[in-house]
């Protein structure tokens, strides 16, 4: 018996028109077509989606969680990127 397993796929579902595809889980399938069919059966049995993306898991590059502090630090110090940073005088509207 061969020890070769079906590759792992990550599944993304668009739940309705106008929304992003969102990661819902993973599954194994011999190829992309089968991955779509299996994702339909496994992740959309109760009308959870109108569109499916499948991506081979080994094609995903993830940021390193141990580097997260350094990676996201620049955003922390730039509070002027948020509207709450600014004083708006009373009486000003539509802003």
């Amino acid at each position: 018996m061969s020890k070769k397993e079906w590759p792992l796929w990550e599944v993304f579902i668009r739940s309705k028109a106008g929304l992003n595809h969102k990661h819902v889980g993973s599954l194994r399938a011999a190829d992309a077509e089968m991955a779509i069919d299996n994702a339909r059966d496994v992740y959309t049995r109760r009308s959870e989606g109108i569109s499916i993306w499948v991506v081979p898991s080994n094609q995903i590059t993830a940021s390193d969680p141990t580097e997260a502090d350094a990676l996201f630090e620049p955003a922390n110090s730039k509070i002027y990127r948020h509207p709450t940073f600014y004083d708006v005088p009373d009486g000003i509207s539509h802003m």
Binding site: M1, S2, K3, K4, E5, W6, L8, G25, S26, L27, R28, A30, D31, M34, D41, V42, R45, R46, A62, D64, P65, T66
Partner: protein, 316 residues
């Protein structure tokens, strides 16, 4: 940098995250014991979903009408999905899918002992949905808040799907209980056989449960076995009374002071005997799973060969 930290410091930070209810994700640092505990628990859970399809699969072709048949089929199909979500969650921890399944087949890995009891009549489909899925829900709802992200997310999906499982079972029981004397006797007989094994599903008493404390500290577990068992008894007894069935426990009494039911001694010898592989259907269940894997091997290989061929044709 995390790479330079001592194990003690890493463990301390890990526990701080847990204490603050920050979820652990697959690539995060985690103690080896945490990983191993989760792999064991999640794969055991996955095996239970898959083996759990067999007792009910036994009745699909003999369901009393088309509606019942469609419902049972949908329910069993859900359980296959639950198995898949859980095997996938175990894989995020580095468990090899095939090895995990082979561990089930070799007897190294366990699954819920409830599935080692036979399903002798149609009423057993009612008892299983009502009691077994009911007990499973009791266990799984707190797992939606488990500290390990992929397991918690899988449990959210599972719990959403479980609620119909219990209702369809209760509906079967309620119908039979209101039917002819023979039908009512059939429902009572199913309750008699499944009641105690359902209580055993929550595992050994707290005093005997060696992993509980650590699992609670890691927030893998949120309640002890005895707490969950008591909760199950308290909600289930009024349901049985409502449909006119009798819980097979002569020691059962309601304690006005505590507001809880007190129930009789569980037969732990029976429990351990079934866990050790000597239940009525242990051998049959594993043989069926092994046969399914072996008989399906050529299909999996053919699918890969076909995918290969299609890929080559595309790139040619």
């Amino acid at each position: 940098m995390v790479k330079d930290l001592s194990i003690q410091e890493l463990e301390k930070r890990f526990q701080e995250k847990i204490d603050k209810d920050i979820k652990i994700e697959p690539n995060d640092w985690m103690p080896d014991d945490y990983r191993q505990t989760l792999i064991r628990q999640i794969s055991q859970h996955a095996h239970s979903e898959i083996v759990g399809m067999l007792p009910e699969g036994n009745w699909i072709t003999r369901a009393p009408n088309l509606r019942r048949k469609a419902v049972l089929l949908a329910k069993v199909q859900d359980e296959a999905g639950h198995g898949l979500y859980l095997y996938s969650a175990a894989e995020t921890l580095g468990a090899d899918r095939e090895e995990t399944i082979d561990d089930l087949h070799s007897g190294k890995a366990k699954y819920s002992s409830i599935f080692n009891y036979p399903t002798l009549s149609w009423a057993d489909m009612g008892a299983i949905g009502w009691l077994v899925d009911g007990a499973a829900i009791m266990n799984q709802v707190p797992l939606c808040r488990c500290s390990y992200g992929p397991y918690a997310r899988a449990m959210v999906r599972v719990c959403k799907e479980e609620s119909f499982h219990q209702r369809q079972g209760f509906e079967i029981m309620a119908h039979l209980a209101q039917g002819s004397p023979e039908q009512k006797a059939m429902a009572q007989d199913a309750l008699n056989r499944f009641w105690w094994p359902a209580l055993m599903m929550f595992g050994p008493n707290d005093a005997e449960s060696k992993h509980t404390l650590q699992s609670m500290n890691w927030k893998i577990k949120r309640h002890t076995n005895d707490e969950l068992r008591q909760q199950f008894v308290d909600v289930t007894i009024p349901q049985a009374e409502m449909i006119g069935l009798t819980i097979p426990d002569k020691d059962l009494i309601f304690n006005e002071l505590t507001g809880h039911y007190e129930f009789g001694e569980i037969n732990w010898d029976e429990f351990w005997n079934v866990v050790k592989g000597n239940g009525p259907c242990n051998k049959d269940r594993i043989d069926t799973r092994k046969k399914a894997k072996e008989d399906g091997a050529w299909v999996r290989e053919a699918a890969l060969a076909f995918a290969d061929k299609r890929q080559k044709r595309k790139s040619a």
